[in-house]
Assembly symmetry: C2
Homo-oligomer: 328 residues x 2
């Protein structure tokens, strides 16, 4: 029997969920819920209804796992606790510092509703977190490094768009090779913010704008750019769309440490993602977590879970015997 | 309360377990059991008794998890089912094709004894398997690649030692950069055995031996070397010890696949280990599994488990709230 999936909130990650469900023989999409006028929302999957968000309650029997695809800033802190009373849910809440608060609110709601809620699924938080946990649990005497990119940072792109005279912008976060190599060598260097990442910006300016002033405002912007080496390239709107219209991302989680009675041996664990499409890959992780969520629910578990709590086998459509035979 | 660890069988991995326990504040070593004369076995940890294997039964109350450190060929197929009736156990059984049989025998024994037995822990099988599982569950439309090395292959070193006129040898398995780069690029090439790995051999020959005949016998050896590009370098016994006396290993698990409605985007997931000491790192993974084993046992679980079945949080000494705050 397939896992019946609903999508709540329809943006880039939701479109990725549609793609992921299409790739998964054990999943089917039942309905998409939106707070916009459903008539204006064009989804990818033929024959699946798009419904107003307030009708989601009619689907408690028809949906096994509801994928919450709103934003972390204001949507998910409300949606996830609310909907975890009614549905098994998966979200991609990614405001790291607020995860404990979000967990507590969702855990209470899910337990009251007798539901399983998987939060902060995706790749960071998500697969990167999982790798930090496992690497740290195994290589206990070591240091963690996370590098992001090459990839688009939405927050930094938005910050540039707020500069006067800027019409549009894309910002790439780029890990610096020499820092990566230093960590991979098995050393445990202390790296400054500037040594770890570059910021590479592509900016469309208003006609006649003072480009030097815009450049200066960007590279000195507090919290966003002032601690980095930042390059700014002005391009036309057409160039931006043609050459910087994708949503690539990725990065590295590396743990470097020592083994042996006298700490005489080095060990390095590296996990790397290279993604042409950040939202599509995030969605694939969410859908694997939906599979696990459905299984934990079938076992009678309730409450809030993260990828830390999911037995890895539950993520896979294969059964235990197949996994052992094929992958162990 | 600390997890009280016993070691059964005292070789390289067992010494690694001692090092790992020393690094783990939540673990303590209680006893080492050996089939040799205990008086001849010198362990690293002061004050811990070395006892004859047949006395292990006296320790059922004193040991929480018994680490089975025998070999996969003949020891573990006997030891693990036998001892899983008496103890929660962890082994590193690594004969891939026999894992299903081993699992079945251990599962029956552990369930009869009311114990938890974690088998095939380590890095391959173990962490590499875990990464194959998670990468495949997420990036469902993709292809897996595993590369080993640079590292010592014990089996290939032993095979060389059986050639007439050879006194000693070490064989390094080395992944070929061009193959790695092809996979990392997001393509899914079909790679032959010869394209993936080189075999680099260091050989100590008897005085007066026909070196060209030895070289020829090695590079043409069926199942071991004939499908690879193999280099043979003759060295003195002193050079072998000084320059090739370590036990480095490692490798890469890479999954390359497609995302998107029309499979229009590439994604690559890469996991890499670089280990100065293969047995010490293997032992660190075993000890993290011992922590998880003890927790699963405390919950009343029984039977055979692999790393596929362990909620990742159970591997870590940190509690759920700390893990979410620090690592998610």
């Amino acid at each position: 029997m397939k896992t019946r999936i609903g999508i709540y909130g329809y943006g880039n990650v939701a479109r990725g969920v549609e793609c992921a469900v299409k790739q998964s023989a054990d999943m089917e999409l039942v309905a998409v819920f939106t707070r916009r006028d459903p008539a204006t929302v064009q989804i990818l999957t033929p024959g699946v209804p798009v419904l107003p968000a307030e009708r989601v309650g009619e689907y408690v029997e028809a949906i096994d796992v509801l994928m919450l695809c709103g934003g972390s800033a204001t949507d998910l802190p409300v949606h996830t606790p609310q909907l975890a009373r009614l549905f098994h849910v998966v979200d991609s809440f990614d405001t790291h510092k607020n995860i404990p608060t979000h967990f507590a609110a969702v855990d209470e709601a899910a337990k009251e509703g007798g539901k399983v809620a998987v939060i902060s699924a995706g790749w960071d938080p998500g697969l990167f977190s999982l790798n930090r946990l496992v690497a740290g649990a195994v290589l206990s005497n070591g240091v963690d490094y996370t590098f992001w990119g090459k990839g688009i940072s939405q927050g930094h792109s938005d910050a540039i768009r707020r500069v006067e005279g800027v019409l549009d912008a894309r910002q790439y976060t780029i890990p610096i090779d020499s820092a990566l190599e230093a960590v991979r060598s098995g050393e445990t260097p202390e790296l400054t913010t500037r040594q770890k990442h570059l910021r590479d910006c592509y900016v469309v300016a208003e006609e006649g704008a003072d480009l030097e002033r815009i450049r200066e405002e960007i590279v000195t912007m507090k919290n966003y750019f002032d601690e980095y080496d930042t390059t700014v390239t002005f391009v036309t709107a057409e160039q931006l769309k043609a050459e910087h219209g994708g949503m690539p991302h990725g990065g590295f989680v590396i743990r470097s440490g020592k083994t042996g009675w006298e700490e005489e041996h080095k060990a390095v664990i590296e996990y790397r993602l290279q993604l042409d499409s950040n939202p599509e890959f995030t969605a694939l992780a969410l859908v694997a977590c939906a599979r696990a969520c459905h299984r934990m629910a079938a076992e009678g578990q309730t409450g809030c879970k993260t990828m830390f709590d999911i037995p890895p086998a539950y993520l896979s459509p294969l059964d235990g015997a197949e996994l052992r035979r094929l992958l162990l």
